[in-house]
């Protein structure tokens, strides 16, 4: 069975982002970019399922600027078999990405799409759910365990929900979004990085897929959040309790 893994190129999670002085957005000039960490978990999961003999092919797909090729090469170095880039310089919002992915699903016919629960740039947490809706497929978000039973035509997913865990059985085909505890992604080894350069990578345009990617939301401004300033140091427990009772008045 084939698995499709959509991945997003985002600012590296170690980078402390800066808001542009004119309030138009985040300063991305000369900032290190990387694969969205939740998507890395998705790639790892698909590759492990392939290594376990459950999955036959892992296709990574990314939508965005030409440099997303690098992100796709990373996925190939981690074990994905092929890459597909939907190249555009346009701003892509989750609904547009979901529509592009729907078109790719139409071409590739995977039984499972597995992707990160959210990207760490726009923190939207929407694309997987939207894709499932557009395809009319079942969905399991925030997965911490995925067990595929291709013969029975279903996948059993344990999900991180408020207050605990829930396990769902979904009919295949399905969309699964990953949470942090699903796995720990491997590092790409040098031989695998070299091998990844030879793996096939196809490039398409949104027009080839007949998808209108116009944004629905306009960002009017981006500002820094109000800063919290450091308060005072207390000397001991007695002073702390005194402050909490008499100054902050948060304990009786």
């Amino acid at each position: 069975m084939k698995v499709l893994v959509p991945i997003k190129r985002v600012v590296d999670f170690n980078v402390k982002v800066r808001v542009k002085a004119d309030g138009s957005g985040i300063d991305l000039a000369n900032v290190k970019m990387a694969m969205n960490p939740f998507d890395e978990i998705a790639v790892e999961e698909a590759v492990r399922q392939k290594e376990a003999g459950v999955v036959t092919e892992v296709v990574a797909v990314s939508c965005g600027v030409a440099a997303c090729q690098e992100t796709l090469r990373t996925a190939l170095a981690l074990g994905a078999d092929r890459g597909v880039l939907v190249e555009t310089d346009a701003e892509l919002q989750p609904l547009a990405v979901a529509k592009l992915l729907k078109a790719i699903v139409g071409k590739e016919a995977p039984q499972l799409v597995i992707l990160g629960k959210q990207a760490i740039d726009d923190d939207a947490n929407q694309t997987g759910q939207m894709l499932a809706a557009l395809l009319g497929w079942s969905q399991a978000t925030f997965a911490s365990k995925v067990v595929i039973d291709a013969a029975a035509g279903h996948v059993t997913v344990t999900r991180e929900i408020d207050g605990g865990l829930e396990t769902l059985e979904l009919k295949l085909p399905a969309v699964v979004t990953t949470d942090l505890r699903l796995n720990e992604p491997r590092y790409a080894t040098l031989p695998n990085i070299m091998k990844a350069k030879k793996k096939p990578l196809e490039t398409l345009k949104p027009e080839d897929l007949g998808v209108d990617v116009s944004p629905r939301l306009t960002t009017l401004k981006v500002v820094e959040p109000p800063k919290r300033t450091a308060g005072v140091r207390v000397a001991d427990v007695a002073q702390l309790i005194d402050k909490l009772k008499n100054e902050a008045k948060v304990i009786p």
Binding site: K16, V17, V19, I26, Q93, P94, L95, I120, D123, A124, N125, Q126, T127, G128, Q129, M130, A132, A133, S138, Q139, T141, F142, T156, E160, I161, D162, G163, G164, L165, E166, T167, L168, E169, L170, K171, D179, R181, R216, L217, T218, T219, L220, V222, V223, E224, P225, R228, A230, G231, V232, R233, V234, V237, L240, I241, K243, L244, A248, V250, I251
Partner: protein
């Protein structure tokens, strides 16, 4: 045009996150309807009717809504979306699971995790783990929105007198089946709703130390217990204790961070707390930069002292 708010509940009780979502809806200034989709959920409908500011409660009661699966909920909301300018839910795991699906069915954007309403089309939401706040304007006819609960003070759970109407169920999509749930049972308040939160980090060293030191303190203060991602990764406590960008976003009256260094990831989840106390033996820990009161000390010594003194 009215506003539809999706009630969060467990078929017996209306969850308080719904009150925060209604508070966001109040700022939009139109008539508010609450949708209760569940199974055997009459009690929830009655609680929903008592919520201040709600004009109508619409109840869809069917077996296939019992488990709140996204496929069935989204189909129902989509079927009844006509006449609404806005569809809102709290940004809980349920809301985040369901509303993007609704938005895609309606062919509109979804606006995630809003913390402020500027006008009927314009909203403020955190991006980049809360390191920036974006003001976004929607061009869609229907705005589908999840509401960060800490951004809006809850409306009163009582005092309303909404009418209750029955809504036709949509058909069972039959795509997902609940196998089971493991919900952490606790006599303590929920993290999302607690007035006081005691949160522990990696410096506690073990799950045993976490329980021995923090539980008595939490008992004294009637507090919920939380943890940093490092403490969760180290296996001291389950994942649903996690406070941070990838865990729960909280804003209690009092947040006590014990043995937590204060990674950006963690700060993103608690920096809107009213009063923050940090106890850490490293005087340079970043947590002190956001704490109202900092105590540089060995937690193994001062936590028992603090518990005894309260």
């Amino acid at each position: 045009m009215s506003i539809l708010v999706i009630a969060e509940h467990d078929n017996a009780h209306l969850k308080t996150a719904t009150l925060n979502a209604v508070a966001a809806a109040v700022k939009l200034g139109s008539e508010i309807h609450l949708l209760v989709a569940g199974s055997g959920c009459d009690a929830v409908a009655e609680q929903a009717a008592a919520v201040a500011g709600v004009a109508k409660v619409k109840v869809a009661d069917a077996a296939h809504y019992a488990d709140q699966t996204a496929e069935n909920l989204a189909a129902l909301i989509h079927a009844h979306a006509g006449g609404y300018s806005h569809i809102l839910a709290a940004a809980t795991s349920n809301g985040k699971n369901t509303l993007p699906r609704v938005a895609a069915l309606l062919d509109v954007a979804q606006i995630s995790d809003i913390i402020a309403v500027e006008d009927a089309d314009t909203f403020v939401r955190p991006i980049y783990a809360g390191n920036a706040l974006a003001t976004v304007k929607s061009a869609d006819a229907v705005k589908v929105i999840t509401v960060r609960t800490t951004g809006f003070d809850p409306v009163s759970a009582v005092g309303g007198s909404a009418t209750i109407e029955t809504l036709a169920s949509a058909s069972d999509q039959g795509q997902a089946r609940l196998i089971g749930r493991e919900i952490t049972k606790s006599a303590r308040p929920e993290l999302g709703a607690a007035k006081v939160i005691i949160s522990g980090g990696r410096a506690l060293g073990s799950g045993e130390a976490y329980r021995q030191l923090l539980e008595p303190l939490a008992d004294k203060l009637g507090a919920a217990l939380g943890a940093s991602r490092a403490a969760v990764d180290a296996g001291f406590v389950p994942n649903d204790y996690q406070v941070g960008q990838t865990g729960k976003i909280v804003a209690p009256q009092l947040y006590i961070a014990i043995g937590i260094s204060g990674a950006i990831q963690h700060l993103a989840g608690m920096k809107d707390s009213k009063v923050i106390v940090a106890i850490n033996k490293d005087p340079d820990a970043p947590i002190f930069q956001v704490a109202d009161y900092g105590l540089v000390a060995d937690l193994f010594q001062v936590i028992p002292e603090l518990t005894a003194a309260l």
